[in-house]
């Protein structure tokens, strides 16, 4: 029987000895062929969730079914339908790309006659044909990530877990990987569960986003819906003179609630207020500024609205978020 949902998680918990509750009763559901972006700062519980869903870490409580199988009781069956590229490309620097694929095809029980064609197909797919016989130690970060993806696809999984697949990559490599992940979902119908701390990645790639913080999901929905939930745009001002900062802030807060701390001259506009209203007020009071920008809501605004912090601030540990 085909599962209606590829991933169904209910009240999933993972506690570590002498540590925090890394995942604290999360619920989520991912439908077949969907790209689900799991967004959150370092230490939020993203990787722990992936480890549980890929059967590498037993949950402390709760249930999770992946591909219709219980991660706690049916580990081998779960592993047979999933592919995973975990945090940091786990590759052997002394083996070549082809060696890795040969090993993976053998361990994944690909029939002998199909192994070489599958290796060639995957090397071509991720653009590593020319580098196939070079040791991985000499690969760039982007090449390693692409090989990592190819290894996860060896046994044609229907569900793919990617744990921060583009962390540390240059923009070009990042875009190339996004294109490949997108193609996997759109053309091959692969369900993708992707963790990321990049807002742009979640925004561009994911059909739906779950935002996790301190082990709890604080928001979930399509990027558009989440941003619409915030609704109102924000205004960001750069002053001409530093001494004008308090005066500008005082003016801005007449039009909306302040964003960030006092270093940021930014407010989320109240309903019915537009950029023109603010500009008129500035003119009337003789305030001179270097730049005024009207910004549509972003996922960072969603994160801020839900947690009271920016994602960047949370990632840098300003909130004391646990780091695994």
């Amino acid at each position: 029987m085909a599962p209606t949902n590829s991933i169904v998680v209910e009240q999933l918990v993972r506690e570590f000895k002498k540590g925090p509750r890394a995942v604290d009763g999360i619920d989520l559901s991912v439908t077949p062929g969907e790209i689900y972006g799991f967004l959150g700062p370092n230490g939020a519980g993203k990787s722990t969730t992936v480890l549980m869903l890929t059967t590498l870490l037993p949950p402390t409580a709760g249930t999770a079914r992946v591909g219709g199988f219980d991660v706690r009781k049916e580990g081998p069956k779960v592993r047979s339908v999933i592919g995973a590229a975990l945090q940091e490309a786990a590759l052997d620097p002394l083996l070549t790309g082809r060696d890795h694929l040969r090993l993976q095809t053998m361990l994944q029980a690909i029939p002998k006659a199909e192994r070489k064609p599958r290796q060639t197909e995957l090397l071509d797919r991720v653009g590593l044909t020319d580098a196939a016989d070079r040791k991985v130690g000499g690969y760039s970060g982007g090449m390693k990530r692409r090989l990592d993806l190819a290894l996860a696809l060896v046994h044609r999984p229907s569900i793919l877990f990617l744990d921060e697949p583009t962390t540390g990559l240059d923009p070009q490599s990042r875009t190339a990987l996004w294109a490949e992940v997108s193609r996997l979902a759109r053309e091959d119908g692969v369900t993708v569960f992707l963790t990321t701390q990049y807002l742009e990645e979640a925004d561009v790639l994911a059909d739906r986003v779950g935002i996790i913080d301190h082990g709890k999901i604080v928001a979930e929905g399509t990027p558009t819906a989440l941003k619409a939930e915030i609704g109102r745009p924000s205004i960001h001002v750069i002053p001409c003179r530093e001494e004008d900062r308090p005066r500008i802030l005082s003016l801005l807060t007449r039009f909306g609630e302040q964003l960030g701390d006092d270093r940021d001259l930014a407010v989320r506009l109240r309903d019915g207020i537009g950029l023109a209203d603010v500009i008129r007020a500035m003119d009337a009071e003789g305030v001179v500024v270097d730049d005024v920008e009207l910004r549509a809501p972003t996922l960072d605004d969603v994160f801020l609205a839900k947690t009271g912090r920016t994602l960047e601030g949370a990632a840098s540990g300003e909130d004391g978020a646990p780091v695994r």
Partner: protein, 258 residues
């Protein structure tokens, strides 16, 4: 599910390739024991004049030592490699495949056994080139290779156990000197019955490494010595069994997958 032999073969092949592609790991287990052998056989040659010394060639007497030194080097290398796999996440990658836990261990150890036998061939070749005549003849040499494989299983499993328990290559390298102490307080340089210092003779007598060495030595200089062979094979078998049980237990603890 992939057949167990295929899984073991794939992992053993990787283990061998890794060693072959790391001259810094592959060469010391070959060169250092032979260099020490040549130094000792030059510097300690006078020992052969002791009354009761079993041979007039110290080189033949000491040829047994590289077998165990090489095994110790292999233990460290194998353990360090496995620990690195744990640290880099490669172990997790393997855990996500249908590979059985037993295949993970057997593949790793099979690779070490192949390398252990190749090392033994090298030491035997060096001995023959330097004029050592094996008292047990070609059959003794063949038995020596079997023995080298058995010792490699024991030491390989020991290295795997340490890696699985600590998950740290640095910890394993830190334990290496401890393992070497066992070698130095054995009968590596003097027959036990000729060790004059009582406490050293006692320690060498209760040290299992002495019996591992004496088994090889008997095939080189004595011929077919049933007692030495029984003790050597007995200790090697016991080490292999205990280390395999310990490594299997540690693997079970390390593999948290459901």
């Amino acid at each position: 599910m992939s057949a167990l032999p295929t899984q073991i073969g794939a992992l053993a092949r990787r283990s061998i390739m890794r060693t072959a592609r790391q001259p810094a790991s592959a060469i010391p287990p070959l060169i250092f024991p032979v260099a020490l052998l040549l130094l000792n056989s030059g510097g300690l040659k006078a020992s052969t004049e002791l009354p009761g010394f079993p041979t007039d060639s110290f080189l033949a007497f000491a040829l047994a030592v590289p077998f165990i030194q090489g095994a110790l080097f292999s233990t460290m290398n194998a353990g360090t490699d496995l620990a690195r796999d744990i640290q880099t996440g490669f172990f997790s990658r393997l855990s996500l495949t249908p590979v059985r836990g037993s295949a993970l261990l057997a593949g790793q150890i099979t690779g070490i056994v192949v390398l252990g036998v190749l090392q033994a061939v090298f030491y035997i070749s060096v001995g023959l080139l330097l004029g050592v005549r094996f008292a047990a003849g070609p059959a003794g040499i063949a038995l020596l290779l079997v023995y080298a494989a058995l010792v490699a299983v024991g030491f390989g499993a020991l290295g795997s156990f340490l890696a699985l328990r600590t998950g740290s290559g640095e910890s394993i390298q830190g334990l290496f000197p401890v393992l070497f102490v066992f070698l130095f307080i054995s009968s590596m340089n003097t027959p036990r019955d000729l060790i004059a210092v009582d406490w050293f003779r006692f320690l060498a007598s209760i040290n299992p490494v002495s019996y591992l060495i004496e088994c090889v030595r008997s095939l080189v200089i004595t011929g077919w010595d049933a007692q030495a062979l029984a003790l050597g094979f007995g200790v090697a078998t016991a080490l292999a069994i205990v280390a395999l049980i310990a490594a299997s237990w540690a693997l079970g603890r390390r593999l948290e997958r459901t």
